[in-house]
């Protein structure tokens, strides 16, 4: 269980790009369940779409990715010079639209990795109904290599 203050100590993203607000279950390096409340005031709803707000699928993926990053226990020696980044998005389906007022219950389970890559299966539900699912894979890159 983590609240927003504890989450912010663990991940670098900040509003308006912070997509997990509460963690209700967490098994380090294995799995987690997290909550994102979708609010009509979020800036992307101005354009996606005017008069018909729907949460972009890529941002649902981002919410899943942020929860995955909370599951991954970074090695102490990696904290300063390495960054976990998204490597692959596989088989994502957006079964039902996510709209303002929805509370996303996101569950992620590690399927592979621990070495150069870490993979997760992700399931997104609203009121117990499936809205999206897919797989995400992450790797580490040296911070000094970014932009070169």
């Amino acid at each position: 269980m983590m609240n927003i203050y504890e989450i912010s100590e663990k991940i670098a993203q900040r509003p308006p790009f912070q997509m997990i607000e509460k963690v209700t279950e967490l098994v380090p390096n294995e799995s987690a369940v997290g909550i994102k409340n979708v609010c009509v005031n979020e800036p992307y709803f101005m354009g996606h779409f005017p008069g018909t707000p729907i949460m972009p699928g890529v941002l649902i993926c981002e919410a899943c990715a942020q929860l995955c990053s909370l599951v991954i226990e970074k090695k102490p020696e990696d904290l300063d010079d390495k960054l976990y980044v998204l490597l692959k998005i596989d088989g994502f389906k957006f079964v039902k639209p996510v709209i303002p007022g929805d509370q996303l219950e996101i569950a992620v389970n590690k399927t592979k990795g621990g070495g150069v890559i870490v993979g997760f299966d992700c399931v997104v539900k609203v009121n117990g109904n499936l809205h999206a699912k897919g797989s995400l894979t992450f790797t580490t890159v040296p911070k000094e290599s970014l932009g070169k």
Partner: protein, 81 residues
């Protein structure tokens, strides 16, 4: 696991996880050429698979061992404990 079984396991991985068409994938087919067309993201998947399934690290070994299923199997054979 003998050498043939190892190569078949690798081929199965390329087909199921990396989406390679098994009908054009032979043990000596170039993996990163025009025909199969794998890329650097796939190479990380290969490294992870070999590490988890054969206990052999291919991190930082250069391009040569990744040429084909034959060369990956040869690398595993010569590096396994």
């Amino acid at each position: 696991m003998n050498n043939e079984e190892m190569k078949n396991k690798l081929k199965e991985f390329f087909m199921s996880d990396l989406g390679v068409d098994g009908s054009v994938l032979n043990f000596d087919t170039p993996l990163f050429g025009d025909e199969i067309g794998l890329d650097s993201v796939d190479s990380l998947e290969i490294i992870s698979f070999v590490d988890e399934n054969f206990g052999v690290s291919m991190t930082g070994v250069g391009k040569d061992p990744f040429q084909s299923i034959d060369t990956i199997a040869a690398f595993i054979e010569s590096h396994k404990a």
